[in-house]
Structure formats: C-alpha cells, structure tokens
C-alpha cells in the first residue's frame, strides 16, 4: 500500500505538533535551562548578583503549605516538685508539698462537684451545692483568716486559702466545717432567699456559659449548663439536695493539697482528726465523655438598640486535659494573646491589625471531658464588629494553613513555659494546680511535666491542632452588637480633601499667562 506524499506530510506534521504540545504541558519533560535564560531580556549588569534561572522542575501554580522545618527549641527547664501522697482510710486523698523556706502555707480542697455529674432531675444541684459550700466556709471566731478563692467548673470545685503557717489548724478546721455542714431546711431556704433572680447569661461569665451551651449540645453530661434556681431545684427538697452534696463531697471524691511551711506529721494528724470520721462514700464512677462531631457553626447573636459596648466570643470544644493537642493549643493561645509585659499592651504580630480600643481575652479551661477554649473581643460601639471579626478570622486561617514561623514558635514556647512557671511559683495557684491534676488526671506530676511535653510539639502539630480544632465549622459564636456610632472626635481621621473643588481654570485664549513649566 502506498501513501500519497501529501498524506505522509500531514501525518508527520501532526506527530511533530503533538510532541511539541506535550512537552509544553506541565509535568512533561523539562525544557533545557538555556532556553529559559536566553528568553529573558538581558539587563545591564549591576552590583547586585544576577538572578538565578528559573528552576527547571515544574511546580504547580497554587502554593501548597510545605512541611515546616523543625524548630530547635531550648532545653526545657526541669521542674521537680517533691510531694507526698497519703490516703486516709475513708478514701480521702492528701497531697503534701512542704517548702520550709516559704513564709506561708496554702490549703486547696478539690471536690468532684460540677454540673457534669448531674443526672436527670438534678439540674442546678451542683451550683446550689457550691453556693452552700461557699457560705459554709466562714469561721465562728477567726476574723482575719482570708476567704478562700474559689473555682467552679463542670468537673471540679476548688477552695484555696493562703495563710500564715500558725493558722494552718484554723484553716483546716474551716474546710472541715465547710465539708460537713448539712443542707437543712434553714440552709435550703437561705439558698433560695439569697438567690437573686437574674439572667446569668447576662453576667460577666454569661457569654462564656452561652458558648458552652452551644458547644456541648448533644454531649452528655456536658450538654447542660445549669445555674440559678432551676425548675428541678424548685421542686426539690433540702434532703435531696443534701444527698447530692454528700455524695459529691464524699472523701473518695475529694483531694486536699497543702503546700508551704508546715510540719507534715502535724498536718496529717489534724487531717485525721477533722476528716477521718467522715464516712466513706461510693467510689467515684469512671466515665468517658464523647463530644459528638460538630458540623456547622452555632450562633447566639443579641442585637441591642442602644449604643452599648459590643463584644463577640468564639468558643470551641477542644480535647480534654492531658491530650497532646491541648499543649499545641496553648502555644496557639500564646501566639494570639497580647504581650502582657508591654505598656501600653502590645498586640501579637498575628493580631496587630486589631484596633487599639479592642480588648482581647483568650481563655482555656481544661476539663476531664471536652475542654473549652474561648476568644473574646470587647470593643466600643464605634468600631465595626464585622471588620474586627475578619481580622481574627484571617489570623486563625493563616495559622491553620501555614502554621507558625520559627520566631513565633520560639516566642510562644517561652511564653507558655514562663506562664506555667509563674503559676507554679505562687503558692495558692500551685496548690490549686496540684489538686486539679490529682482530681482530673489522678497524677499531680502532670503539672511538672508540661515543659518537657512542650518541647516535643513542633510547628506542624501546632498547624494541625489549629486546623482541626479552631475551624469556623466547629466554632460557637456569641455576639452582642449595637447600632454603629461615630468615633470620638480625637479618633476621627481628618477629612480627606473634597473632590468637588473646582479644577483650575484654563487661562482664556490670548491671555498672557504662562503655562506652568514641567
């Protein structure tokens, strides 16, 4: 069979053209570097070095976050807290951390008391019990032992007191009284009488509680945040409330930590006298709390018609205490929060576009179940809340996409470590941290191991933690916005020059005015 020359020519041309196009497509065989260098317009050589030729390997046009280079972190500061654990016959756990050189003593009592322990029909019992414990901590005669600082959370209630060493017996007596005072009819009616009917969701803590309500939907037992005098409390009796109190303050559910200058034997003897006779209760049940996946943002927006300060709060349910992602999230917080040692308060580089008038607060509450991370921005009425939100959203998106850079990682690591050491250096917070670690983890050493765990977290893990846990899909937004108002006069920028100014008139024809020289 013979082909016409013309046909052969067409076939050959087609083949040649097809090969040429294939070579021009990305992913195909690279072009020689010489051809690219020659195609550039040659410029007069200058002192600066010549630009390097385009890399021959083909690269996609869209930027893909690459695996960040590892950061060489300094050696973590070792923390060695020498403490002793004792368990009384009734199950009460005691942690003793003597420090002879300190001029004070700190006592922290932790109860497994919180709304996560409430069953059906007990909504609000935990908070009412907490209020009763708070009221029961007054001494009859000692008027200058300070009131205990308190913490009430879903899993844990803490009472912490710092006093002079000679007052340790009085402090322990007060805690024992707090522990043992029953909720009788008088105390119950007093609780009801001193309850001020107000919407707790409008209090200072209210925005965070509203975010928790959104975040923990469908999550037992975190799914409800019950405060105030609930319906269950209205139909309850003093006995039922007292039974709840006794159950959750039973010795096997309680931890006492003493730090500072004290004699361990004398302290144990006091504890045995005051807390030993308390009957042991049922063992604390183990439970696993699973947070259902959240697939869309949940919103609670309140609009006001009056010109009031605005705020918005982002809340995320994040992993429980002890999870490695939580350590990475601590670094994220350090990258976002303001520098506290600067005056006036300096923004982090990620949020430097946040207006000066905006007040930023970031808080992480570590819990046995899903922890809660909140980011709140308070701003005056004259700021655009949507624009401020955009600044925060952009910062979070950038962190989740590209992760932190080396300097940022080092600075965050140092900040978290310093902050942790600050917390531990103060006696009241150290005893509270040890108590919390024992109640939540069963191991106070978790407090001392944070620096070494921090040093194992790399940039990629921080990026992944931000991407996994701080996405808009898993976000819960609580917002309070009002009508826009004008900014104060001293903050108003000078008005731009008016665009309606008359254009300079051209000189009439024949005039002797000269044209402006160029």
């Amino acid at each position: 069979m013979r082909f016409a020359p013309f046909v052969l020519f067409v076939i050959g041309s087609t083949l040649c053209l097809g090969l040429g196009e294939a070579s021009a497509r990305p992913g195909s065989a690279p072009l020689p570097a010489d051809s690219l260098a020659k195609s550039k317009k040659r410029k007069k050589p200058r002192a600066t070095p010549a630009p390097t030729p385009t890399p021959t390997s083909s690269t996609p046009k869209t930027a893909v976050p690459r695996a960040p280079a590892p950061v060489q972190l300094p050696t973590p500061a070792p923390i060695s807290l020498s403490w002793q654990r004792h368990t009384l016959p009734n199950g009460l756990r005691v942690i003793l951390h003597p420090e002879p050189h300190m001029p004070a003593v700190s006592v922290s009592v932790g109860y497994s008391l919180g709304h996560s322990f409430e069953t059906k029909g007990q909504s609000g019992f935990a908070h009412a019990s907490f209020r009763h414990l708070q009221d029961s901590g007054t001494s009859q005669t000692s008027t200058h032992i300070p009131q205990a600082s308190t913490y009430f959370g879903p899993d844990l209630t803490l009472f912490t007191t710092v006093a002079s060493p000679s007052r340790l017996p009085a402090v322990l007596w007060r805690e024992a009284r707090r522990h043992s005072r029953p909720i009788d009819a008088d105390a119950f009616s007093n609780l009801r009488a001193t309850h001020h009917p107000r919407r707790f969701d409008q209090s200072d803590q209210g925005a965070r509680l509203r975010a928790e309500r959104l975040a923990y939907q469908g999550c037992w037992p975190y799914g409800h945040v019950a405060h105030d005098w609930t319906t269950d409390l209205q139909v309850a009796s003093a006995d039922s409330l007292d039974e709840f109190r006794r159950q959750h303050t039973s010795p096997s559910w309680t931890v006492i930590t003493i730090t500072g200058r004290f004699d361990t034997d004398a302290a144990l003897e006091h504890l045995g006298q005051l807390f030993g006779p308390i009957p042991s209760g049922p063992p604390k049940p183990t439970r696993k709390v699973v947070l259902p996946d959240q697939t869309n943002q949940r919103v609670d927006v309140e609009k006001s018609s009056e010109s009031t300060p605005q705020f918005f709060l982002y809340g995320w349910a994040v992993p429980p205490a002890g999870h490695v992602d939580l350590v990475a999230l601590r670094l994220v917080i350090a990258m976002l929060q303001d520098r506290s040692d600067a005056l006036p308060r300096a923004r982090s580089t990620r949020l430097e576009k946040l207006p000066e008038e905006a007040k930023l607060q970031i808080h992480l509450d570590e819990r046995a179940g899903p922890s809660m991370l909140t980011l709140r921005v308070d701003l005056p009425a004259f700021l655009d809340i949507d624009r401020v939100r955009q600044v925060v959203d952009d910062a979070l998106l950038d962190l989740a996409t590209y992760g932190p850079d080396t300097d940022e990682m080092l600075a965050a690591w140092r900040t978290v470590q310093l902050s942790h050491l600050h917390e531990l250096s103060s006696m009241d917070s150290r005893s509270a941290l040890l108590t919390r670690a024992e109640v939540l983890h069963g191991d106070p050493d978790a407090v001392a191991s944070l620096p070494s765990v921090l040093s194992t977290v790399n940039r990629e893990e921080v990026r992944r933690a931000a991407r996994r846990h701080l996405t808009p899909i898993r976000r819960n937004l609580v917002e309070h916005r009002g009508p826009r108002v004008d900014p104060p006069k001293r903050l108003q920028s000078p008005s731009p020059p008016s665009k309606t100014t008359a254009a300079p008139q051209k000189p009439p024809r024949g005039s002797k005015q000269r044209k402006p020289q160029k």
Binding site: H144, S166, A170, P380, M427
Partner: protein, 457 residues
C-alpha cells in the same frame, strides 16, 4: 381493538378511597419514620447508692485566735554584699522552680527631673525600649522580650528594672542587659515607643504618682507637652550623668545560686564607664497640704489619700504606723510599705464634694488614735489582718523581689514579731503623724479623656 372508557359510569367511592390509600401508603410510612422522635441524649449513668444520713461527724472545737500566736513571718535567708563595681547585691535562693526574678535598681527617680519634668521616666523607658524588638542597624534579630518578661517602675527616688526568666537563660539575659544599661542606643524608634508608654502611664497611674510627688513636695506635674519636648540627646545626657554602677542594687530571687549571681552581676556591670555631670537643679518644692489632680464634677468619684513621709526605713516605729493605717481604713490597694518606702498612707474613694469632709474625719480619727488607748481586741484584729495579708503577699517570690527592690530585708523580715511587740501606737503617732506632717492627695478622673459618642445620621 380499543375500547372507549365508559364515561357515564360513576366511580366506586370505596375503591377510590382504597386506591388513594394505597397510593399514599408509602408516603405515610415514610412520614411516620421521619416523625419518630430524634434520639435523645444517651441515658444518664445509674445513680450511686445514697449515703446514709445517720453519720454526721462532729467537729472538735475551732482553734481560737487567742490561743494561736502571731506568725513571725520569717523570710528566706537574704544574702547581702557590696560588689567591686560599687553596686549592692541581694540574693535569695529559692530552688523549687527554674524561675528567676531579677531587679536592677538605680537611685535615680522623678526627683532628679529638675527643670525637665519626665526626663527620668523617659530615659528609663527609652533604655528599655532600645533593647526590645529587632534592631536593623545592630543586626539584632530579637530583643530581650524573647527571653524575659520585663517591666519598669520609676518612683520618686529610684528606677527599678524588673526581669523574670527561666533560670537556664540567665546568661543570655545578662548579655542583653549589659548592652542595654551600658550602651543604650537611644534611637528614634525607641524614643517614640517610650513616649507612647509614658503617655499611657500618665493617664493610668495618676494616684500613685501623685502620692509619691506629694510626699516629696514636688510641685510640678508632668504633662504631655513635657514628654513631647524630650529629645534623644536629653535622654542620652541624663543616662550618662545619672546611671552608674555605684549605688545600684541588683536583686536575685529564684533558682540561681549565689556564685552564679555574683558572676553574672559582675558581668553585667563590668567596665561601666560613667561620667560625672553637673547635678541637675532640684525640682521646685512646695509644702502644699492638699494636691488636687484632675477636674472632677461634684458627684464624680475621686480617690483620696492621706499620707505622711514617716521615719527612716529601719525605724522601730514602723510596725505601729502599719497598725494605725490598718485601723483607719481597709481600702488601700496594697500594704503601705510595698510601693513607696517611708510612706504612711490611708486611702478611700468618695464623691468629690465629700473629699474635704473625709479629710477632716481622717484627721480627727488620727488625733483620737494618738490620744486614746486602743482596745486590745481591736489591736489584735489589726495585727492578725496585717500578718495574714503579708503572708499571702510573700507567698509569691515575685512579690519578695519587688519588696527587696525598695526596702531592706531587715525592714520587713519577721514582721509578725515586730507587730506582736506593739502594745501602744500613741507614741509613734505623736512623733510622725502630726497635723503639719500630713499631706492629702485628691485624684479625680480627667473628663477630657472620655470619648464622645453620637449617633450616625
């Protein structure tokens, strides 16, 4: 063959209904399935067995305050020595945590402003800001903020630079401080940041600064224009003449050993060349009895303070004066000997129109304390409250470092014992709190700083 439908026949109703039902049955079944209630929360865990109510432990009697003696409040051992550089070193070893609090104190404060109000504060802030952040001319990548938390405080007669860092990074911190103190750059950017900080401090710490200035009888208040007129060469000159190692105090509290603290202090201050300049003229003094700051309205709240200079730091009358201060009011933010050495003070917040009346009441109460004996029970309560407050404060090493920066350890070591020894406060009142020794400060909010708002059209 097609058959035409019988149009004249009427449809059977029952068949029609059956057919309709059959057609809708799948839809109805699907709707029923959808209408099933959404699964509720998983069932709660079973309740544990109730605790019997028969066991109510009876507590032993509460320990009485009278049976418990006041705690001596003994400080950890404080090492004190003079260094070859002329500086004084104080060291407290607290090895529990790898954290160090460093205070560097220069005996130069606002009283050295002379005819240039604000120069001491601006110089200190510029020195510190020069060490913060990257510095392109020196090719510095980052400043001291990367390794240490830092702050500064300028009192009437001292400037305190405060640093907190992890003990393992002490060497790096000292290298930065050496450059910061001995060769500050006084760059324009640092000066601008310092000015912004000084303006912020001007607005926020009115009461404290006014109190301190009142004690010193300093008449002139620093204004924004004063700060704006201060240039970099002013700060450079002030630094050269007033900052030196002689007379400086270096306080180490934390996980750094004495040997290491001595070596690092020497490293920080070694080779510091200072020039002796002409002493600045003293700021104009005034003996005004009442100093008013701000222009509040009659019903606006104002902070009122009654204060007196008091004796020297280590005078034996100070415990009695602390008790008097505690007896008169409880609203002061901190104990009198913390912020300003040598300052007895009583403070409160009242409406502006009641400030004069408050002053009269305080003077009358002080006069009564100086003439009548205090009931022993009231005396014990005041002492106990002071001891407990001091114990809480000293439970934090940072507070210990701050106090050592302004006071000698001997002044407040064993404060409990010193308070226990006070049985009568009248002699101390008669010696140090007479009418001509008292000063009053009234600090009101500045109305011009409040933002104005208006609705958008």
């Amino acid at each position: 063959m097609r058959t035409r439908p019988n149009l004249e026949s009427t449809p059977n109703p029952s068949a029609w209904k059956a057919g309709l039902l059959a057609a809708l049955a799948p839809t109805i079944c699907a709707a029923c399935l959808r209408m099933q209630p959404v699964p509720l929360l998983p069932p709660p865990p079973p309740q544990p067995a109730p605790i019997p109510t028969t066991h109510q432990p009876t507590l032993p009697p509460e320990p009485k305050d009278a049976s418990l003696s006041l705690d001596p409040l003994e400080l950890p051992p404080v090492h004190h020595e003079s260094r070859p550089s002329g500086a004084t070193l104080q060291h407290v070893h607290i090895p529990t945590l790898p954290l160090t609090h460093l205070r560097v104190v220069f005996p130069t404060g606002r009283a050295a402003d002379g005819d240039q109000p604000g120069i001491a504060t601006m110089t200190a802030l510029t020195v510190l800001e020069g060490a913060v952040g990257p510095d392109a001319p020196t090719r510095r990548q980052h400043g001291i903020e990367q390794v240490a938390e830092h702050s500064i405080r300028v009192t009437t007669d001292a400037t305190v630079f405060s640093f907190t860092f992890v003990s393992t990074e002490a060497e790096g911190v000292i290298e930065q401080l050496r450059t910061m103190f001995q060769q500050p750059g006084f760059r324009l950017s640092a000066l601008q940041r310092a000015r912004a900080t000084a303006l912020h401090l001007l607005a926020s710490s009115n009461r404290l600064r006014s109190m301190e200035d009142a004690l010193m009888g300093v008449e002139r208040q620093v204004s924004e224009s004063d700060l704006s007129n201060i240039k970099d060469w002013h700060c450079r000159t002030f630094h050269k003449t007033m900052y030196r190692s002689e007379g400086a105090r270096v306080i180490w509290v934390g996980d750094v050993s004495l040997d290491r603290a001595q070596a690092l202090t020497g490293r920080m201050l070694a080779g510091w060349k200072t020039t002796k300049g002409d002493p600045k003229p003293e700021a104009p003094r005034s003996n005004r009895r009442v100093i008013r700051v701000g222009s509040p309205g009659p019903d606006d709240p104002v902070q009122v303070v009654m204060l007196a200079r008091g004796p020297d730091r280590d005078h034996e009358d100070w415990p009695a004066l602390w008790i008097v201060s505690q007896l008169m009011t409880k609203t002061c933010g901190s104990l009198p000997w913390v912020e300003q050495p040598g300052a007895f003070r009583v403070c409160d917040t009242v409406a502006a129109k009641q400030a004069e009346r408050w002053m009269g009441e305080m003077e009358a109460k002080l006069s009564m304390l100086g003439s009548s004996e205090i009931a022993p029970a009231d005396l014990d309560v005041a002492k106990g409250t002071l001891v407990e407050a001091e114990a809480r404060r000293l439970g934090n090493p940072r507070a210990l470092a701050d106090t050592l920066a302004l006071w000698d350890a001997s002044s407040f070591d064993r404060a409990g014992d010193k308070l226990s020894g006070v049985s009568d406060v009248r002699p101390a009142v008669g010696r140090h709190l007479t009418a001509d020794q008292l000063r009053f400060v009234v600090v009101g909010s500045n109305a011009s700083n409040a933002p104005t708002t208006s609705r958008r059209p």
